[in-house]
Point group: none
Chain length 163, copies 2
Amino acid sequence: MTSSFFSKHKQVILYGISMAMLLFLLKWLELRYIIINHSLEIYIGAIAFIFTGLGIWLALKLAKPKTNTVIIEKEIIVEKEILITPNTEFTFNEVEFNKLEISKRELEVLQLMSKGLSNQEIADQLFVSLNTIKTHSSNLFVKLDVKRRTQAVEKAKRLNIIM
Amino acid sequence: MTSSFFSKHKQVILYGISMAMLLFLLKWLELRYIIINHSLEIYIGAIAFIFTGLGIWLALKLAKPKTNTVIIEKEIIVEKEILITPNTEFTFNEVEFNKLEISKRELEVLQLMSKGLSNQEIADQLFVSLNTIKTHSSNLFVKLDVKRRTQAVEKAKRLNIIM
DNA sequence: GCTAAAATCATCCTAAAGTATGACGATAAC
DNA sequence: GTTATCGTCATACTTTAGGATGATTTTAGC
């Protein structure tokens, strides 16, 4: 307890002792030489200078260092394996469907595509023009990140978006 | 508030107290010995006190703050999704395969077709010309009794000829 | 060695698929 | 009321797929 108090306030105690010693020294010097014959200004100036220095020293010693917290964001890429349930019984993967932002109409086109229908046949079945189906299919390829209808069907089946 | 002020400036307060005690000590010594001029001692003590404070203030205000840079590495886990198709219980329908009289090479073409490859890509993979693949695919369509590659894939999967 | 099926490749042509872009009305969200 | 999305349709163009036909070369069986 006593030792911990000393170690904790070592600076203060040392400063106190050193100041006491300095004052003694000054007293001694005052008596012996300076004060009697010399100007008071020098003495006071010396006091001011010394104690300013002491104050600075004390402040620097006791000042708590500021903590600069730098947060470095480190990306760790973890490969997450997604097992796709074998479609013995088809369960529509709504999560993946929504993630791909495929519209209802596009899904219809995709389903008919998977049955092997041509664009013209799909157009006839949905009572729209061939060009409309071409637009839908093009959009589908972009959303599914594929180049051909065969790939689109393959991926969509793999993702359980279609049967 | 008061307690936090005390804890924050404990060092300074302790220093003040210790200095006051020292001054008392000096007063006592002064009485014991030579000192005559009381006002001068008080004056010098005040000077010492004030300039110590000035030193502390100077140090705290003007000195560069000590900075401890704490680097915290924050790990962000980025999940990279890998789609895995599990091995479904595929049993090759050899009976149907033989009935349709599809050749080995044609089956290869059919399998690559089902993966969504174009005729050119299939040709490159099998190290044959595009025309060869066209011939194979044409023959396949006749044998499978379909009109398009998408239908061929659909039917072949349905007949368990391909996965 | 002959034969038949399989595999290869070609040419010419048509059909279908796919790309790019713009437009327009409806509908829902802000 | 403006913005955004969706669904629709169009034009113009390029690429790919597919059909018809014929030819050559391998390969395997008799």
